[in-house]
């Protein structure tokens, strides 16, 4: 799965996710990537999220929408909201990760796997890519 989230100079957020699914999947199984609110969500008032991981759990938790709701209604930071929702995924037995951008421009990662292919860049000069969990 791949994804991207962004905040532009006009203050608008967007999110997108694309995937080939799960190796060996059957019966037309569909994961969270195309499910708005599970694998992808964007709302200028809250955040933009793209997810990757065990889709069935991300659908059950409603990961992307839940992160935005915590930020919008409980004023949580992008990192705190993402970590809380990923903890919920883990508690159910799922794994994976999310990328999140907030209306103020925070770009954060949260994942409970050994690694996640990821990168972030901002107008403030951040420009980094990483793979392993300890980077």
């Amino acid at each position: 799965t791949v994804g991207a989230v962004a905040l532009d100079r006009h203050g608008n957020l967007a999110a997108g996710t694309s995937t080939g699914g799960m190796t060996g999947k059957r019966w037309g199984r569909v994961g969270d990537a195309p499910i708005i609110g599970a694998g992808t969500y964007a709302d200028d008032r809250a955040c933009a999220v793209s997810a990757t991981g065990w889709g069935e759990f991300f659908i059950r938790v409603g990961v992307a929408r839940s992160i935005c709701a915590l930020m919008e209604y409980e004023d949580q930071s992008a990192q705190a909201a993402s970590d809380a929702v990923m903890d919920d995924v883990k508690a159910l037995g799922g794994d994976g990760g999310v990328i999140v951008v907030s209306p103020s421009g925070e770009a954060v990662f949260s994942f409970n796997t050994a690694g996640m292919y990821r990168g972030r860049a901002t107008s403030a000069g951040v420009n980094e890519v990483a793979i392993y969990g300890d980077e």
Binding site: A6, L13, S18, G20, G21, G28, T40, A48, V101, Y117
Partner: protein, 171 residues
């Protein structure tokens, strides 16, 4: 001038340092950097968040190292079924496609669903008919074939000969 921000991912999982050669590690980082640079360029030049994420995702969809587009994994029947979605935070418009087999870049089709249809999600053959009507590039299903992904399917099947095991895992 207001700031901009971008984050990308190319999948998560059991990615250990000793599971990749230095060359593969470097190739993955280069691919991520290319996608990041493409999106950042759009934003730095004042472009929209939607155009930025599309630019980044297109590069990753065309990169066989990631499980999307060209690098899509195999289904049990050794085919490929791709899904994608996109959402505009300004309007909360959204578009998604599921189970497409001949769309080179599903993110472009998801965006077309958002901008040129009254729907949010289209699936399967219907989505592909819509893609053809909209001039989205279609490719033969074999375009998505990669030997290393096929071997991954074969390894999985070799380990899970019991249909019940498979049913439990993916059911």
């Amino acid at each position: 001038q207001a700031g901009w921000s971008l984050a990308i991912h190319g999948g998560a999982g059991t990615i250990a340092r000793d599971s990749m050669t230095p060359e593969e590690d470097a190739a993955h980082r280069a691919a991520l950097q290319a996608a990041l640079d493409a999106g950042a360029k759009v934003l730095a030049e004042g472009g929209s968040a939607l155009d930025a994420i599309e630019a980044a995702i297109l590069i990753m969809e065309d990169e066989p190292r990631f499980n999307a587009g060209k690098g899509a994994v195999y289904t049990w029947d050794a085919t490929h079924e791709l899904d994608a979605s996109i959402m505009d935070g300004r309007t909360r418009d959204a578009g998604a496609v599921a189970g497409v087999t001949t769309v080179r870049n599903p993110i472009l089709l998801a965006r077309k669903v958002m901008t040129d249809s009254p729907h949010v999600m289209l699936s399967g053959k219907g989505a592909e008919s819509f893609a053809a009507e909209q001039g989205i590039e279609l490719v033969p299903p074999s375009y998505f074939d990669t030997e290393f992904r096929l071997k991954a399917l074969e390894r999985m099947k070799a380990k899970q000969l019991s249909a019940l095991d498979v049913d439990v895992k993916f059911g």
